[in-house]
Amino acid sequence: MNTEKILLDHGSGGKISHALFADLILPLFDNPELSCQDDGAILDFEPGRLAFSTDSYVVDPIFFPGGNIGDLAVNGTINDIAMCGAVPKVISAGLILEEGFLLKDLKIILESMASGAKKAGVKIVTGDTKVVPKGKADKIFINTSGIGILPSGIHVSGNNAKPGDQIILSGTLADHGIAVLTAREGLSFESDIQTDSAALNTMTRQIIESGCDVHVFRDPTRGGLGTTLNEIAVQSKVGIKIYEPSLPIKGSVQGVCELLGFDPLYIANEGKLICFTSKQDAQKTLEIIQKNEFGKDAAIIGEVTHTDPGVVLLQTAIGGVRLVDMLTGEQLPRIC
C-alpha cells in the first residue's frame, strides 16, 4: 500500500469504489448501521429534541504535530454537538479525495477517525467518497455531520449569558493553531507544541449531569477565544470582561506568538471549551472540568457584566483595560 495512490476509479461507484469501502472503510468504522450499506443509515432515537450540526475540514497540512485532519473532522463535529448541551450519538463522513492521494495516508486518517469516534462513544453510520482530478482539490477534504440527543430541561446557548456569570476556559490557549503553523512549509520551528484536538462530550456531559447552572458552552475554534467571546457578547447583548493574568497559555506557545507577532486570543483551539455558569456554581463547575482528562489547566478567566453590551474588554496584568475586538482577516506574521 506504501506507494498505492487514489485513482479517479476509486470514486466511480464501481468495483474499485466498493473495494475501497469494503476493505478499508467498513472494517475501521464497523457498526451495524453502516454495515447495512443502504443509501442512508436508519437510526432509532427516543422522541425528544435533537442537535444537528455539520462542518467541513480543509486543514493544511493534513498531518501536524499530535494529529491529522481525521481527528479534527471527528472531534470537531462531536464538539459542535456537545456545545449545544447534547449527547453526540452518530456522525457522517464525506470524503473528497484528490487523484494521486496516497492510500497509506488515507488509511492513517481513517484510522484516526475510527479511533476518535470510538473513544468518544460515537458511531460513523453513513458516508460518501468522491475523487476529483489532480489539482482540483488539495489532497483530502472531509465533511462530517452529527446528531446528538438533548437531555430534557437543558437550554445552553450563546444567547443565554447573564450579567454576573463566571467564564471558565477548560485549558491552555492557542495550542492547535500554533501546532499547525509550525508544521507549515517554510516555517522551520522545532517545538514540542501539539494540537489539542479532543472530543469534549464527556466533559460537557459531566457538567450537565452535575446539575450546575450552565448558561453557555462554546468551543473557541476558528478566530480563537477573542472572536468567540465577541459572538456571545453580541448574541446575549451583554458585556464581557476577561482577566489577562488568568488566561492559561503554555510558555512555548506564548514564545511562538511573540516571535511572529500573533495574539493567542485569536488563534484556533480544537479541544477547549468555554463555559458560562452562574456565580454560585462556578467553583463546582471548574472542579468538574479540572478532573476531566482534557481540563486539568482549566481556569475562571472572566465574567459577564451589565455594562457595554456587545463589547469584550480585557483587564491587563498592569491594571490597564483594552478592547478585544473580533478577528479581522487572517493573522499575518509581522515584519520586525
Partner: protein, 361 residues
C-alpha cells in the same frame, strides 16, 4: 522553547509601582512619541494608555515598516507580480496594502504567484527550487530587517542563484527622526526609541540627532514594564529639564550595536534618499543596492520606470505617522477606512496606528 525575560517584564506588581511613580512625578502636559510599530501594538495590547495620567499623550511615529512604504513602491510590487514567469515573495503584512488600483492579495486571487514568506531565506530557497521563474522579494523594513536581506543576497550571489532579486524599499530610523524634528507644527516632548532597531544600530546611532535637537530620548524594550519605565524616564527628563539619550533596554542594546549585522548591511547596501508614505522624501533615509549587486535589483532587471502615484485623497496616514493627527481625526477612519476595507497602510499592518486604534480602543 521558553521565553526568558518576558514574565519578569510583565510583572503586574512591578508595573503598578512604576505607574504610581509616574502619577507622582508627572506635572507638565507632555506629548511622547513611540517611534516603533511594535511599541504601538504593545502599548495598546497592555492597556498602557489607560493607566497614564491625562496630561501624557502618546503619539505613534513612523516606525511601522509597512505604513511608511511609499505608494509608488507598493505599485511597483504589484506591477512586478503581473510580469510573466515571476514569483513574488513578501512578508504577510504587505499583502493587503492597497496600491493605487489593486493589492498583492487581489492579484494573487487573479492568478499571480504571490507567496508569503517569513524570511528572505525562504525566498532564496524558492528561487533555488524554481529555476524557470524569477523570484522577487519585496524588501521592506528597518535596520532590523535589512541585515538578513543583505545576507540573503550574499547567499544568492555565492550560490550563483541568478533568478533571485529584490525591490529594495528598506529604510533607516535616525534620518526620519531628524526629518520629524525639522517639520513645521511638530510638537514632540520625547522619543521612546525602538528596541529592535537599536539592537542592531546601538545607542550611538542616535547621538547626532540628540545632540542637535536636545530632545529627551529613551531606548525601550517591548514589555509593559520596559515601556512604562521609559515613559517614566522621559517624564523625569522633562520635569527636571535634563534632556538625555538613555538606554532603558540594556539587556539587549549596547552602545555600538551588532557590528557584524552592520558590516553585512554596508557590504550590500548604501544609503540613498527615500520617499516615506505621507511624509515625502527624506535625505539618506533609504537603502539602495551597491553597484556590484545591481543584478539583484528587480527594477533594473525588469527595466521598470519609476512609478509615481499620488496617495489616496483624504488619507491622513502621513500626518498620523508624524504625530500631527491621531487616527480618530482622519475623515476616513472607521467610515471608508476599516481593517476590512483599508485605504491607508496604517489600517492594514498589525503594527499600524489606525489598526491598533480600531482594534483596541
Amino acid at each position: 522553547m521558553s521565553l526568558k525575560y518576558v514574565e519578569e517584564f510583565r510583572d503586574g506588581a512591578l508595573a503598578k509601582q512604576i505607574i504610581k511613580k509616574i502619577l507622582a512625578v508627572s506635572k507638565k502636559p507632555l506629548r511622547l512619541m513611540e517611534v516603533c510599530g511594535t511599541h504601538t501594538t504593545s502599548i495598546f495590547r497592555h492597556g498602557i494608555r489607560s493607566v497614564l495620567p491625562k496630561n501624557i499623550t502618546l503619539l505613534s511615529g513612523p516606525g511601522c515598516p509597512v505604513c511608511v512604504t511609499a505608494q509608488k513602491d507598493i505599485d511597483t510590487f504589484i506591477h512586478l507580480c503581473k510580469q510573466d514567469d515571476v514569483i513574488i515573495t513578501t512578508f504577510g503584512d504587505l499583502i493587503r496594502v492597497p496600491g493605487s488600483g489593486s493589492t498583492l492579495g487581489k492579484e494573487k486571487a487573479e492568478g499571480a504567484d504571490v507567496r508569503v514568506v517569513y524570511s528572505v531565506f525562504d525566498a532564496v530557497h524558492i528561487a533555488r527550487e524554481n529555476k524557470d521563474k524569477q523570484v522577487i522579494f519585496c524588501a521592506v523594513g528597518f535596520e532590523t530587517t535589512t541585515p538578513t536581506i543583505a545576507a540573503g543576497i550574499l547567499t544568492a550571489a555565492a550560490e550563483h542563484i541568478r533568478n533571485f532579486c529584490i525591490h529594495p524599499a528598506n529604510k533607516l530610523t535616525p534620518p526620519a527622526l531628524a526629518a520629524l524634528m525639522e517639520t513645521d507644527g511638530i510638537h514632540i516632548d520625547g522619543f521612546i526609541l525602538p528596541g529592535h532597531v537599536s539592537v542592531i544600530t546601538g545607542t550611538h546611532a542616535y547621538k547626532d540627532t540628540f545632540e542637535k535637537y536636545q530632545i529627551p530620548s529613551v531606548i525601550a524594550g517591548f514589555e509593559p514594564v520596559d515601556i512604562l519605565n521609559a515613559i517614566l524616564m522621559l517624564i523625569e527628563q522633562n520635569e527636571h529639564n535634563t534632556p538625555g539619550l538613555q538606554n532603558a533596554y540594556p539587556r539587549a542594546v549596547s552602545d555600538l550595536g551588532n557590528i557584524k549585522a552592520q558590516k553585512i548591511t554596508s557590504q550590500v547596501f548604501e544609503p540613498c534618499d527615500a520617499v516615506w508614505r505621507g511624509i515625502g522624501s527624506i535625505p539618506s533615509s533609504g537603502m539602495a543596492l551597491k553597484k556590484e549587486f545591481h543584478p539583484f535589483n528587480a527594477t533594473k532587471k525588469f527595466n521598470i520606470q519609476a512609478i509615481d502615484t499620488p496617495e489616496p485623497a483624504g488619507c491622513a496616514c502621513g500626518k498620523i505617522l508624524m504625530g500631527l493627527k491621531n487616527p480618530t481625526q482622519c475623515a476616513l477612519y472607521k467610515k471608508k477606512c476599516t481593517p476590512m476595507t483599508p485605504v491607508g497602510p496604517c489600517m492594514v499592518s498589525s503594527e499600524g496606528a489606525c489598526a491598533a486604534f480600531y482594534r483596541y480602543n
